[in-house]
Symmetry: C2
Subunit: 308 residues, 2 copies
Amino acid sequence: MSKLLIVGTVAFDAIETPFGKTDKILGGAATYISLSASQFGVNSGIVSVVGGDFPKEYLSKLNKRNINTDGIEIIKEGKTFFWKGKYHNDLNSRDTLITDLNVLADFNPIVPESFRDTEFLMLGNLHPSVQMGVIKQIPNRPKLVVLDTMNFWMDNTLDELMEVIAKIDVITINDEEARQLSGEYSLVKAAQKIHEMGPKYVVIKKGEHGALLFNNENVFFAPALPLEEVFDPTGAGDTFAGGFIGHLAKTEDISFENMKRAVIAGSNLASFCVEKFGTERMEDLTHDEIQERLLQFKQLTQFEIELS
Amino acid sequence: MSKLLIVGTVAFDAIETPFGKTDKILGGAATYISLSASQFGVNSGIVSVVGGDFPKEYLSKLNKRNINTDGIEIIKEGKTFFWKGKYHNDLNSRDTLITDLNVLADFNPIVPESFRDTEFLMLGNLHPSVQMGVIKQIPNRPKLVVLDTMNFWMDNTLDELMEVIAKIDVITINDEEARQLSGEYSLVKAAQKIHEMGPKYVVIKKGEHGALLFNNENVFFAPALPLEEVFDPTGAGDTFAGGFIGHLAKTEDISFENMKRAVIAGSNLASFCVEKFGTERMEDLTHDEIQERLLQFKQLTQFEIELS
């Protein structure tokens, strides 16, 4: 069983959607990624930082799912990163109301000794200098490095971001970010430009419109499962990334054919994430539910057609 | 070989996109639908109306593709329907600059004797009273009736539209129109509501984001082919509809499994339509090109995954 190291935020989120609102609940990119990847039984660990206000029971939730939290530094006198957001009626856009970086402002990541030989590395959405800091602590290059990032880093730390992008295998970004990063409107052309920056694989997330996987020669598309209700989109992108790398770490196969399955696995997990607030649905999700929905993905996409 | 009757506009279009502009060129829903369906070698005919200004050579273009134009009434002293539109930079939205109904204003459709026994009927986007007029001229109910419509008729002639919707088998509309017609934001719920209005099958077109096919029990998704360049989206929806019903008319099989293939066939044809201005690409399209792109659709969507 491969090791999977995940760097990213572990945070408090306060979320408001048309269906309700929460107080501070467990959130953060590394939280969602690790919960999603844990469905594949991989040996995963998180590198992150929280404050003295972070409940021990949240760490226990992760440990119970076999997620190693030794790399989550606890700064007793500090406060945990806090994000508050409000979704618009269509759930496709949101306003950020509060971003309190707190202990994240001076985060100096330290990879635990036991994960310095990780085969799979997931760089969750964070300051590129933190992502680079983690890459540099791993002496032998992992089998696969996946990067998630966002427009904020393109706007503010593009040079550092480009250095990270040059060192990774797979980038996952949304369609608008792919256009911003490449300067191309066509996603096909955007993926080509991003390949030239380093990544052999480009995953473009389109939310309710699915996800595209590109390498230099091929393209694959996974739809989002059409749902009767989307309750809270928070964490869907991270859950997708966690399912993607979780599947790859479990199967230890990084061929394009297997990456197709990884994209489906990620879309599958993300379809559950949005059904309840925060991490709630991901915490009680069962193997059987995932398998059943995988069958739905097959029915949704598979067809027989004869070429004549 | 089944007969396919198509009712819809035959028109002049003037189009402006970020890539160029045209004078008055051949356009109209029935034109695009029939050109697309002609790829399946079906015995098709159009019911429509044009003015004395409509060039004979445009009719010849259709006839050469085995499209019967006996049902296109020519009103010598009248002028042909004219639409002028300008696409925005992202090609996803457009402004209508001119809509001159001309001879379409008083259109009284007459189904030619030779098509009153048609097995397949395609009601292209038009006034619902015209669509109903055609339904009533066909004594034995066709094997399959497909309706395309748009928000304009929902806004202005909803009662008449609902009477047509109650009589058809398949409706094809875009996502915003499905939401408007049903009052539901979720497309899954929207499709359920629209089923209750009559149609056993609901096709929701999402443009560059693909198309969904629903019946009461199943859902299938066909992506749009990711293209390097989209040149002119005019007629893509009609071309999709023409490929959909063309495939069904050729195979004479209206099972859900075959409708999946029909949705893929429609998406395939539409992916060519947008590559050049107006009908240009559809006129020189070959069987081999279509087959080659069908293979691309398979590679784009098909995956092997084991359920455990």
